[in-house]
Amino acid sequence: MKYDAQDCELVAKAQLTATIYDFRLKNPALAAITRPGQFVQVLVPSKTLRRPISVCDVEGDVLRLVFEVRGEGTALLAQTKVGEIINLIAPLGHGFTLEPDKKTIFVGGGIGVPPLLYSAKQCGQNAIVINGFRQRSAVILEDDFRQAVGQLILTTDDGSYGLPGFVTQPLEELLPQADRICACGPMPMLKNIAKLAQQYHVPCEVSLEQRMACGIGACLGCAVAVKEADGRVIYRHVCKDGPVFDSQCVAWDGEKPQPVTSNTPDKKPNEKEGQ
């Protein structure tokens, strides 16, 4: 079994901030095969589309999901009571390339922080984590990270907690001693991290989001433009090819695939068919 749709019991529920919830869902079969950095598709009653949420952690038989209420679906989900059943398709996608014996910097921004916990745990003392938030009231999972990793740095945009400013400042200082970067958060943050990683020649992977339907690679709904080794831009899919991508492959500047109009094997990307 690579993934399945199964019922899970909500065994514990906590509210971490005004809008962020922490769910613990029990399902031994799914928990046993979930790897760091994967995600699940959550069925929300009365909604046609499931909601993709990252696995924050696996604790024995339990999958931990931390999510923010954004729209109707997550608002409905937040109303689930302990003891009730939630159906998940899990586990989905593939996570970060982890080398636990190498110095790895994990960089999270806002609701991009929870998806890093399980991965950062794998690197233990070799993990340096930089988590950035808007302000003090938005800070989440501080204790969880502090217990699990070698070093935790917090930043807030308004300076109300931890270092003032963005995650990229402490990141740049630490980059010379880093072997890898794993990042999750808003696109502008990820783009800046990708730039720094390139500058310092540190391998960097980013976890991306896109609107999804199937969640398993069948509908081609969750496209993301990526650059191939030969420079060609193509659409890959966040649910199946990601959600984690090599930061150097992501088309950060809005590059789009060229229409392909020839079937010949030696086609050039810009070749146009005479019509």
């Binding site: 079994m1 909604k47 199937c214 509908c219 081609l220 969750c222 392909v260 079937n263």
Partner: protein
């Protein structure tokens, strides 16, 4: 246990449930949940003569009781389908249907000709994709153009030919008649209804294509109506689809006039929907003393 098997244009299906094109790819990902023989058939992701990159994201938006999509026929081209996907699908104990789209009549004909030389079981002609500017829908919105493309393709097609009809028309029944008269072996309907969602904060459409195809339970009553109208107008088999989610929906669509069914968006909500629909359908047939699902088709008792 009633007999769920149906025959469409000479092709036997174990049960009337066909996976709808575009929702299941070529079946590989759903094979992880169950054997694909759960489906009577699979209509594969729309294929075109040449590779197509598809539309820029976002391609998906949720709507009340449904969704919009504008994937834009992303596919690796028919040659890739024939070499890489078809041999695998032919081993899955389900009817393999190629769904063909194109920008020109020549594209359609060439693609169909290539497929005719393979062991694909049927061809479904997509003349109703609303999501690409040059993508076939212009063939599907008038009787004349639908008849013309059917006639052209028919000459190149050695396989049973299904024409997939667009609901974005004034009179779907006369389009069905037009393709029937040019040699279509069956019709399938409805493709998605063109729709739109706008983010009220940014005033921008949610999907980058601006408009997309609406599917899911929201379109089901429209689909039932159109299947009924088309069934009343043609002799060839009618494959009904559009928002079928539960076994009750399947029964309703059969009663309206469907000889077989397609299910798509329901897979996203519940991948196991086809298993549940087949079970429920079977129970319903037993409880109503019907020995074959074919006895249900077009048994509607309309008001005069």
């Amino acid at each position: 246990m009633a007999d769920l098997s149906v025959k469409i244009a000479g092709v036997s299906f174990k049960n009337p449930l066909i996976a709808a094109s575009g929702t299941i790819g070529f079946g590989r990902e759903y094979r992880e949940f169950y054997p694909l023989s759960v489906f009577g058939g699979i209509s594969c992701k729309g294929t075109t003569l040449h590779e197509r990159p598809g539309n820029p994201p976002p391609r998906i938006a949720e709507t009340p009781m449904g969704m919009l999509n504008a994937v834009g026929l992303q596919n690796p081209g028919v040659q890739h389908f024939i070499e890489e996907d078809l041999p695998w699908l032919k081993q899955q104990d389900t009817v393999a249907i190629a769904n063909v789209a194109g920008s020109t009549a020549e594209d359609y004909c060439q693609t169909v000709e290539l497929l005719s030389e393979t062991d694909i079981d049927m061809i479904e002609l997509n003349i109703s994709c609303p999501n690409v500017k040059e993508g076939g829908v212009q063939f599907g919105t008038s009787c004349d153009s639908a008849a013309a493309i059917t006639k052209a393709v028919r000459r190149h097609c050695k396989k049973p030919l299904i024409i997939k009809l667009s609901p974005n028309v004034a009179d779907i029944a006369s389009i069905a008649q037009a393709v029937e008269s040019e040699g279509a072996d069956a019709v399938s309907l409805i493709n998605t209804l063109t729709g739109m969602r706008i983010d009220i904060r940014t005033r921008r459409p949610i999907i980058t294509n601006n408009t997309g195809g609406l599917s899911g339970p929201a379109v089901f009553p429209v689909a039932v109506r159109m299947v009924w109208q088309v069934k009343n107008a043609v002799q060839i088999p009618v494959i009904g689809m559009g928002g079928i989610t539960t076994w009750q929906d399947a029964v309703e669509m059969l009663i309206a006039g469907a000889d077989a069914l397609q299910i798509g968006t329901a897979l996203f909500t519940d991948p196991y929907a086809p298993v549940k629909i087949n079970e429920g359908l079977n129970r319903y047939l037993d409880e109503n003393g019907l020995t074959s699902v074919t006895e249900l088709t077009h048994t509607i008792q309309p008001y005069g």
